[in-house]
Chain length 259, copies 3
């Protein structure tokens, strides 16, 4: 049994850090496909790392290992963690980055024992390479979490992000991320739209009122629209352009859903 | 039989969109190598996506799947397409991005049937993940196009890009792309150079006259040169520097080949 | 026997150059994992390419192929090279990029014969695709260097980089690279710290004196620190921020280790 390993870090691709981790992985789990979720998490943005796992969780194979390294506390006494849910495992620092796995029913956590995980010389600055990659390779090639560490019952779980607020006219959410296309992705979910009147619209802090449509192509070129994106969240987009550029809005700005 | 899958998108690597597609691919075609052609096509640049396929087509294995997602019309009634030429298959929206495959002799097109391709819940904004990846995985693991859809005889083919114009003194082309090295890649091809006199040169709109050489290293450091690049097109380069920066030229600028 | 192939280039990921090389590799070595070390070496920075190999060498499997293409002299008479050390092989131009392999005990060099390596039509601008990838695939699938070329005894080896200088108060090094986190990585090594008094510190040209600690998390948020990083070199970092941004320092700047 060889599980695919999904990599998620804040290392970027400029340096060789990801390459060094992959070298360790292919040495210890030579048959495991290595798949990049992303390495563009903003440096040390643990919440951003958790959100990226959330985005992809529904699409992973049932049997897989997620290696998630966003690790501002590397070398301190924060624990190294394995989270397992059935045949799915997550490996990373115990700082909340694995929260989406820990919230799944039946999730169990283990603190990695460096020696049992086969970590060699442990640097104090790069556990991704020296500790988490060996543990991930072990899990991918058939080791159980109990072979690699000891159960813990108090892993760090991030508090839920503040959700949209109910207002007299609808819901007020905020922009949570901006993607490469300049789409403004909010924390308003599909179910905030239920019982939606036909003339429902999204209001931007710029006072623009934006029609809710089903897909990008329903708007004229250059027109601002809102729709439910592929992750199930309302986003503001622009057909053929960047909504972020056109509106000047970004992460944290309020978006009003007017029912 | 498991074919490698070559990925080409305008998603960039900042977000998890590519990771989500790859998760679907490895779930359904676990033994297929996944190889990135590029994810840096400018957003919604269908022509740029087609050009990238053109660049790489000659170097692909004979048996392979190209998954090409540059899809401004996602969720509208543009058809999802499979193009096959022998053991080579392309999967993507029917908007012209697969033009280089459609121009090959013997190319056949099918419109993908989401149900037969095994698409689960189909979002209206991310067919790359929900529809094209399942179809590509199907083709990579032995499904025939006829199992995944119905033949169509009118797939969208982009018109040829405007080529160089013959002038009294030679050919006038234009810059088509600029690569990471700052090389100005034109639409002038090797055959525009035939019967080339010994003193042939390339003239830039900046009035610089640039010698035609065989390879980058033939020029002094900092010198502008022109040569036939690895794709068979004339490019203007600078030994040890960026021709784009030095000349201030970019995509669309005219380049004169003086015979 | 199929060895993994580690790729290192200055091609970036914007263009399809890396994709074209990988297409050749998967055609000729379909079972070899392809692993990116990095493609972000600054254009034509041969020394930077060698340094990236140095960073990763200790973490590679014992049996592997490194395909290293930083090749300003492509198409000139610089030789194409294979370097082997046991089951580890490097392939690239004979310009010093393979220096870290050539410095290993028992290293042997061969000049690649294009015909024997199975290079097809050889462009004069892209030997990464046309010559080095076929040679790397050959080595990955069991060919010996002697089958692909002729021994040479004078491969190009870069001179060692200038090391730190001993001063009356300690050592003066310099910043060699800056990573994505803004850490200033120097050429001061762990052994320059031996016999370190308890109050040792690192002095920046900005006159800041920075405490030496063991790991990033030992500093208060926003505080500048120095520590031995994962490659064994002293680096200046900032907990939760970018040392490069805060200090305004970059590659080449002097860093003083005061014992």
């Amino acid at each position: 049994v060889t599980k695919p390993i999904f990599l998620l870090t804040d290392f970027g691709l400029e340096d060789t850090y990801v390459g060094q981790m992959k070298a360790v992985l292919v040495t210890r789990a030579p048959l495991s496909p290595q798949i990049d979720l992303t390495h563009s998490i903003p440096p040390q943005d643990v919440r951003g790392g958790a959100r990226a796992i959330d985005d992809t969780l529904a699409h992973l194979p049932r049997s897989a290992v997620i290696l998630a390294v966003v690790d501002p506390g590397v070398g301190t006494d924060r624990r190294p963690l394995i989270v397992t849910v059935g045949d799915l495992a997550g490996v990373g620092p115990d700082n909340g980055v694995l929260t989406p796995l820990l919230r799944l029913p039946g999730a169990r956590a283990h603190a990695i024992d460096p020696q049992r995980a086969g970590a060699a010389a442990l640097s104090s600055t790069f556990h991704g390479r020296d500790l988490f990659a060996p543990a991930a390779a072990g899990l991918a090639t058939g080791s159980s979490p109990a072979e690699l560490g000891e159960p813990v019952d108090d892993p760090v779980v991030l508090p839920p992000e503040p959700g949209p607020r109910r207002t007299s006219t609808g819901w007020t959410g905020r922009v949570v991320s901006v993607d490469r296309f300049g789409n403004l992705i909010t924390n308003l979910r599909r179910d905030h739209l239920s019982d939606l009147p036909r003339n429902a619209a999204v209001e931007l802090p710029t006072a623009d009122s934006v029609p809710l449509v089903r897909t990008y192509g329903e708007a004229a070129a250059g027109e601002l629209i809102a729709l439910v994106g592929s992750g199930g969240f309302v986003e503001v987009a622009c057909n053929g352009g960047s909504a972020a550029e056109i509106t000047g809005l970004g992460v944290g700005d309020a978006i009003e859903l007017r029912l």
